[in-house]
């Protein structure tokens, strides 16, 4: 590993990871605010109902408590998600092949399942945490496959950067940024978490992730700086 000799690549990687983690924490905090609002408001409503003596007819109070429970579970899921990603940053960084990491991430699926991975030629390496990328690809593939029935990953090695392109049938109602918003249905929730995780991994490796719509397909484009670039 060339650049770690003087610590430059390592310092840059930890700097990128730190920035991405801060961005992720802001996202999680932002997303937690809504369920916490719901919980706090329903605690207040339940407390007022009981104060007014409506506890004798408890259906409304129980319904309120269930809402509070649901909102707190949602908040807890977001915290778990953040914790899991934060733990993942402890992985020892190294040079690794994106093609290999993406292949391992998509290894649970075959072309018969609708998943195709087109590898880069010649081999393209970046410096960072391969397991992070592998897990993000596995999660994103699973989510995209669940909604679109087909996922294609393509890795392109350019002179200065490596591109990871994903494509799956689907829509981006509400715009690209809204795809990263943690929705209320289990599907929206899971999809947003997968995309937020992938964005964290890309940004944590000094790259950027863009989402766009192309006809009937959603396209993901991530760019990574090459190792040693």
């Amino acid at each position: 590993m060339m650049l770690t000799k003087d610590g430059v690549a390592l310092a840059r990687f930890y700097g990128d990871q730190n920035r991405a983690l801060r961005h992720l924490l802001r996202t999680v905090r932002h997303e937690m605010a809504t369920p916490l609002s719901g919980a706090l408001l329903h605690v207040e409503v339940a407390s007022r109902r009981l104060a007014r003596g409506e506890g004798a007819e408890p259906a409304a109070v129980v319904e309120g408590l269930r809402t509070i429970q649901g909102e707190l579970e949602r908040t807890a899921a977001l915290l778990d998600f953040f914790g899991e990603i934060a733990v993942g940053t402890e992985e020892e960084p190294r040079d690794f092949s994106i093609s290999e990491a993406v292949s391992r991430g998509a290894a649970a699926y075959t072309p018969e399942d609708g998943v195709v991975v087109a590898l880069a030629r010649p081999e393209a390496e970046i410096f960072g945490a391969p397991r992070q990328l592998e897990e993000a690809i596995a999660e994103t593939t699973r989510i995209l496959l669940a909604s679109g029935k087909a996922v294609e990953w393509k890795i392109e090695a350019l002179p200065s950067e490596i591109r990871l392109l994903g494509s799956a049938p689907g829509d981006l109602a509400g715009g690209a940024e809204s795809a990263f918003r943690i929705g209320r249905t289990p599907e929206d929730f899971a999809r947003a978490l997968a995309l937020v995780r992938l964005r964290f991994v890309v940004e944590g490796h000094g790259g950027a992730l863009e989402l766009s719509r192309d006809g009937s397909h959603v396209r993901l484009a991530a760019s990574f700086p090459r190792a040693g670039a």
């Binding site: 905090r29 932002h30 997303e31 937690m32 605010a33 809504t34 369920p35 916490l36 609002s37 719901g38 919980a39 706090l40 408001l41 329903h42 207040e44 409503v45 007022r48 809402t67 649901g70 909102e71 109602a173 509400g174 809204s178 918003r181 209320r184």
Partner: protein, 461 residues
């Protein structure tokens, strides 16, 4: 109050609905901008609470649309993003306030209270405007003339803010009444209005009057005493004749205005206060600064919003309204049956110069009330009051009898002047009509006609 909630998160929306229903609001909740655009015209909300991130667009768009449609509709924005930029942008676009998620019920209560206070104030100002159009009364102030109407418009605007106001104007123009009106129209109106005349309090005592003192702070301070700043907490403090304050005290007050904290005399504890400061002066401010009577930095701190009250001679058309208003007030207290002022008396009042402004007018009406037979104040009673007033208010003038100048003031009528001149000349001539006529280069017959016209006694028979 009708409130439309636009929030896509159902538990948050439902929770807000319940809390607002408890506050006796009429509430409707929708989850998208499209639903809000459909619901708003029919529901006609007074207030919209809108989430900035909605599935079909940005709450800021709704804020702008809604303000353009109905400027009186208040918008409160909800945002999960604790970015001050978002909040500032919303406030710039006309939002009444913003609520950061996670929402706290107490926070919602505070915003609703402020909103309700603002709406009450607006209603009150509307009522005052109506009253003004009908009767010329604006709170405790009176005036249908253009200068006063303009002043009322400025006061109704400035009352809504917390900005310090410096009220300038000649003595007797009603600076304290203007300060009271500002307080009464502000969000602070349920809290105290405390006024201090800085020129009337001994320089040794004023610091203790303003800031209070601790026990033993000075000889005679046998117990702790709160000062006017503490007493005015939450309300308004009016510093009348502020230029009469010592430069040293001005420095101390400047610090209080900047930090909103102070210490009692002899105390170490920093006390925090929320007080709006209004001030006044009848001095020429530039002169006062030049002469070192008013510190420039202190002046700029007090004079965030200057308000100049016109002298009465510049809005004489208000004199009849004011005179009738004072008469009603006096009669309601003293009940002697004097209830009206005849037209000739009103003409005399309107013609007078009023160097002592509204205060002088009030005093003149009161003296004429005392001298008049019910039910009317007539011209004679007024002449008598104004004449005696001149004697009292002109210390440099010689005694009524004997030679000497006749005081003349801007706005005096020629008739008044002639009457005084004849009296004075007759006094000088020791009652001799012939001699007085010679002095005035008139024929004795012409002077006699004037004596009769003006009902002047004192001619020697």
């Amino acid at each position: 109050m009708r409130i439309l909630i636009i929030e896509d998160d159902r538990p948050t929306r439902r929770g807000l609905e319940q809390i607002l229903l408890d506050a006796e609001a009429e509430v409707k909740g929708v989850g998208t901008l499209a639903e809000a655009r459909t619901a708003a015209p029919e529901f006609a909300p007074d207030v919209c609470i809108v989430d900035l991130s909605l599935p079909d667009g940005d709450g800021m768009d709704f804020l702008r649309e809604s303000r353009a449609e109905d400027a009186r509709r208040e918008i409160i924005v909800l945002t999960g993003n604790a970015s001050i930029d978002t909040a500032v942008e919303a406030m710039k676009a006309g939002a009444f306030d913003y609520l950061l998620k996670p929402l706290k019920p107490a926070q919602i209560g505070v915003v609703l209270d402020r909103l309700s206070e603002k709406r009450d104030l607006e209603r009150e100002v509307d009522d005052l405007r109506r009253q003004l159009a009908e009767t010329g009364k604006f709170g405790a102030m009176i005036g249908k003339s253009e200068p006063m109407q303009q002043l009322f418009r400025v006061i109704s605007r400035v009352a809504k803010s917390d900005a310090p106001v410096m009220i300038l104007g000649e003595s007797g123009t009603g600076k304290e009444v203007a300060a009271t009106t500002i307080h009464d129209l502000s969000r602070r109106r349920a809290k105290p209005f405390i006024a201090i005349n800085c020129g009337a309090v001994s320089p040794n005592l004023i610091e203790s009057e303003l800031f209070g003192h601790e026990r033993g702070a000075f000889t005679g301070a046998d117990k702790r005493r709160s000062g006017m700043f503490e007493m005015a907490h939450g309300g308004t403090l009016f510093l009348d004749e502020v230029t009469e304050m010592s430069a040293e005290l001005q420095v101390k007050l400047l610090r209080v205005l900047e930090t909103r904290t102070f210490r009692r005399v002899g105390g170490n504890e920093e006390l925090k206060v929320d007080v709006r400061v209004l001030s006044s002066s009848n001095r020429n401010i530039e002169e006062a600064i030049r002469e070192g009577k008013l510190r420039e930095d202190f002046y700029y701190r007090l004079n965030v919003f200057p308000l100049t009250l016109p002298p009465l001679r510049e809005h004489k058309e208000d004199v009849p309204h004011l005179a009738r208003y004072f008469l009603d007030q006096i009669e309601s207290r003293e009940k002697t049956g004097v209830r009206q002022i005849d037209d000739a008396a009103l003409a005399i009042l309107t013609a007078h110069a009023w160097p002592g402004n509204v205060r002088e007018l009030r005093n003149v009406v009161h003296r004429a009330y005392v001298l008049s037979n019910p039910p009317t104040i007539d011209a004679e009673a007024l002449r008598s009051v104004l004449d005696s007033g001149r004697k009292l208010t002109a210390p440099s003038a010689p005694a009524a009898s004997g030679p000497g100048p006749v005081p003349v003031e801007v706005g005096d009528t020629l008739e008044d002047l002639e009457k005084r001149l004849i009296r004075k000349t007759l006094d000088s001539a020791k009652g001799s009509v012939e001699k007085a006529a010679r002095m005035m280069k008139l024929t004795p017959a012409a002077l006699k006609t004037k004596l009769k016209k003006y009902r002047i006694d004192g001619a020697a028979q």
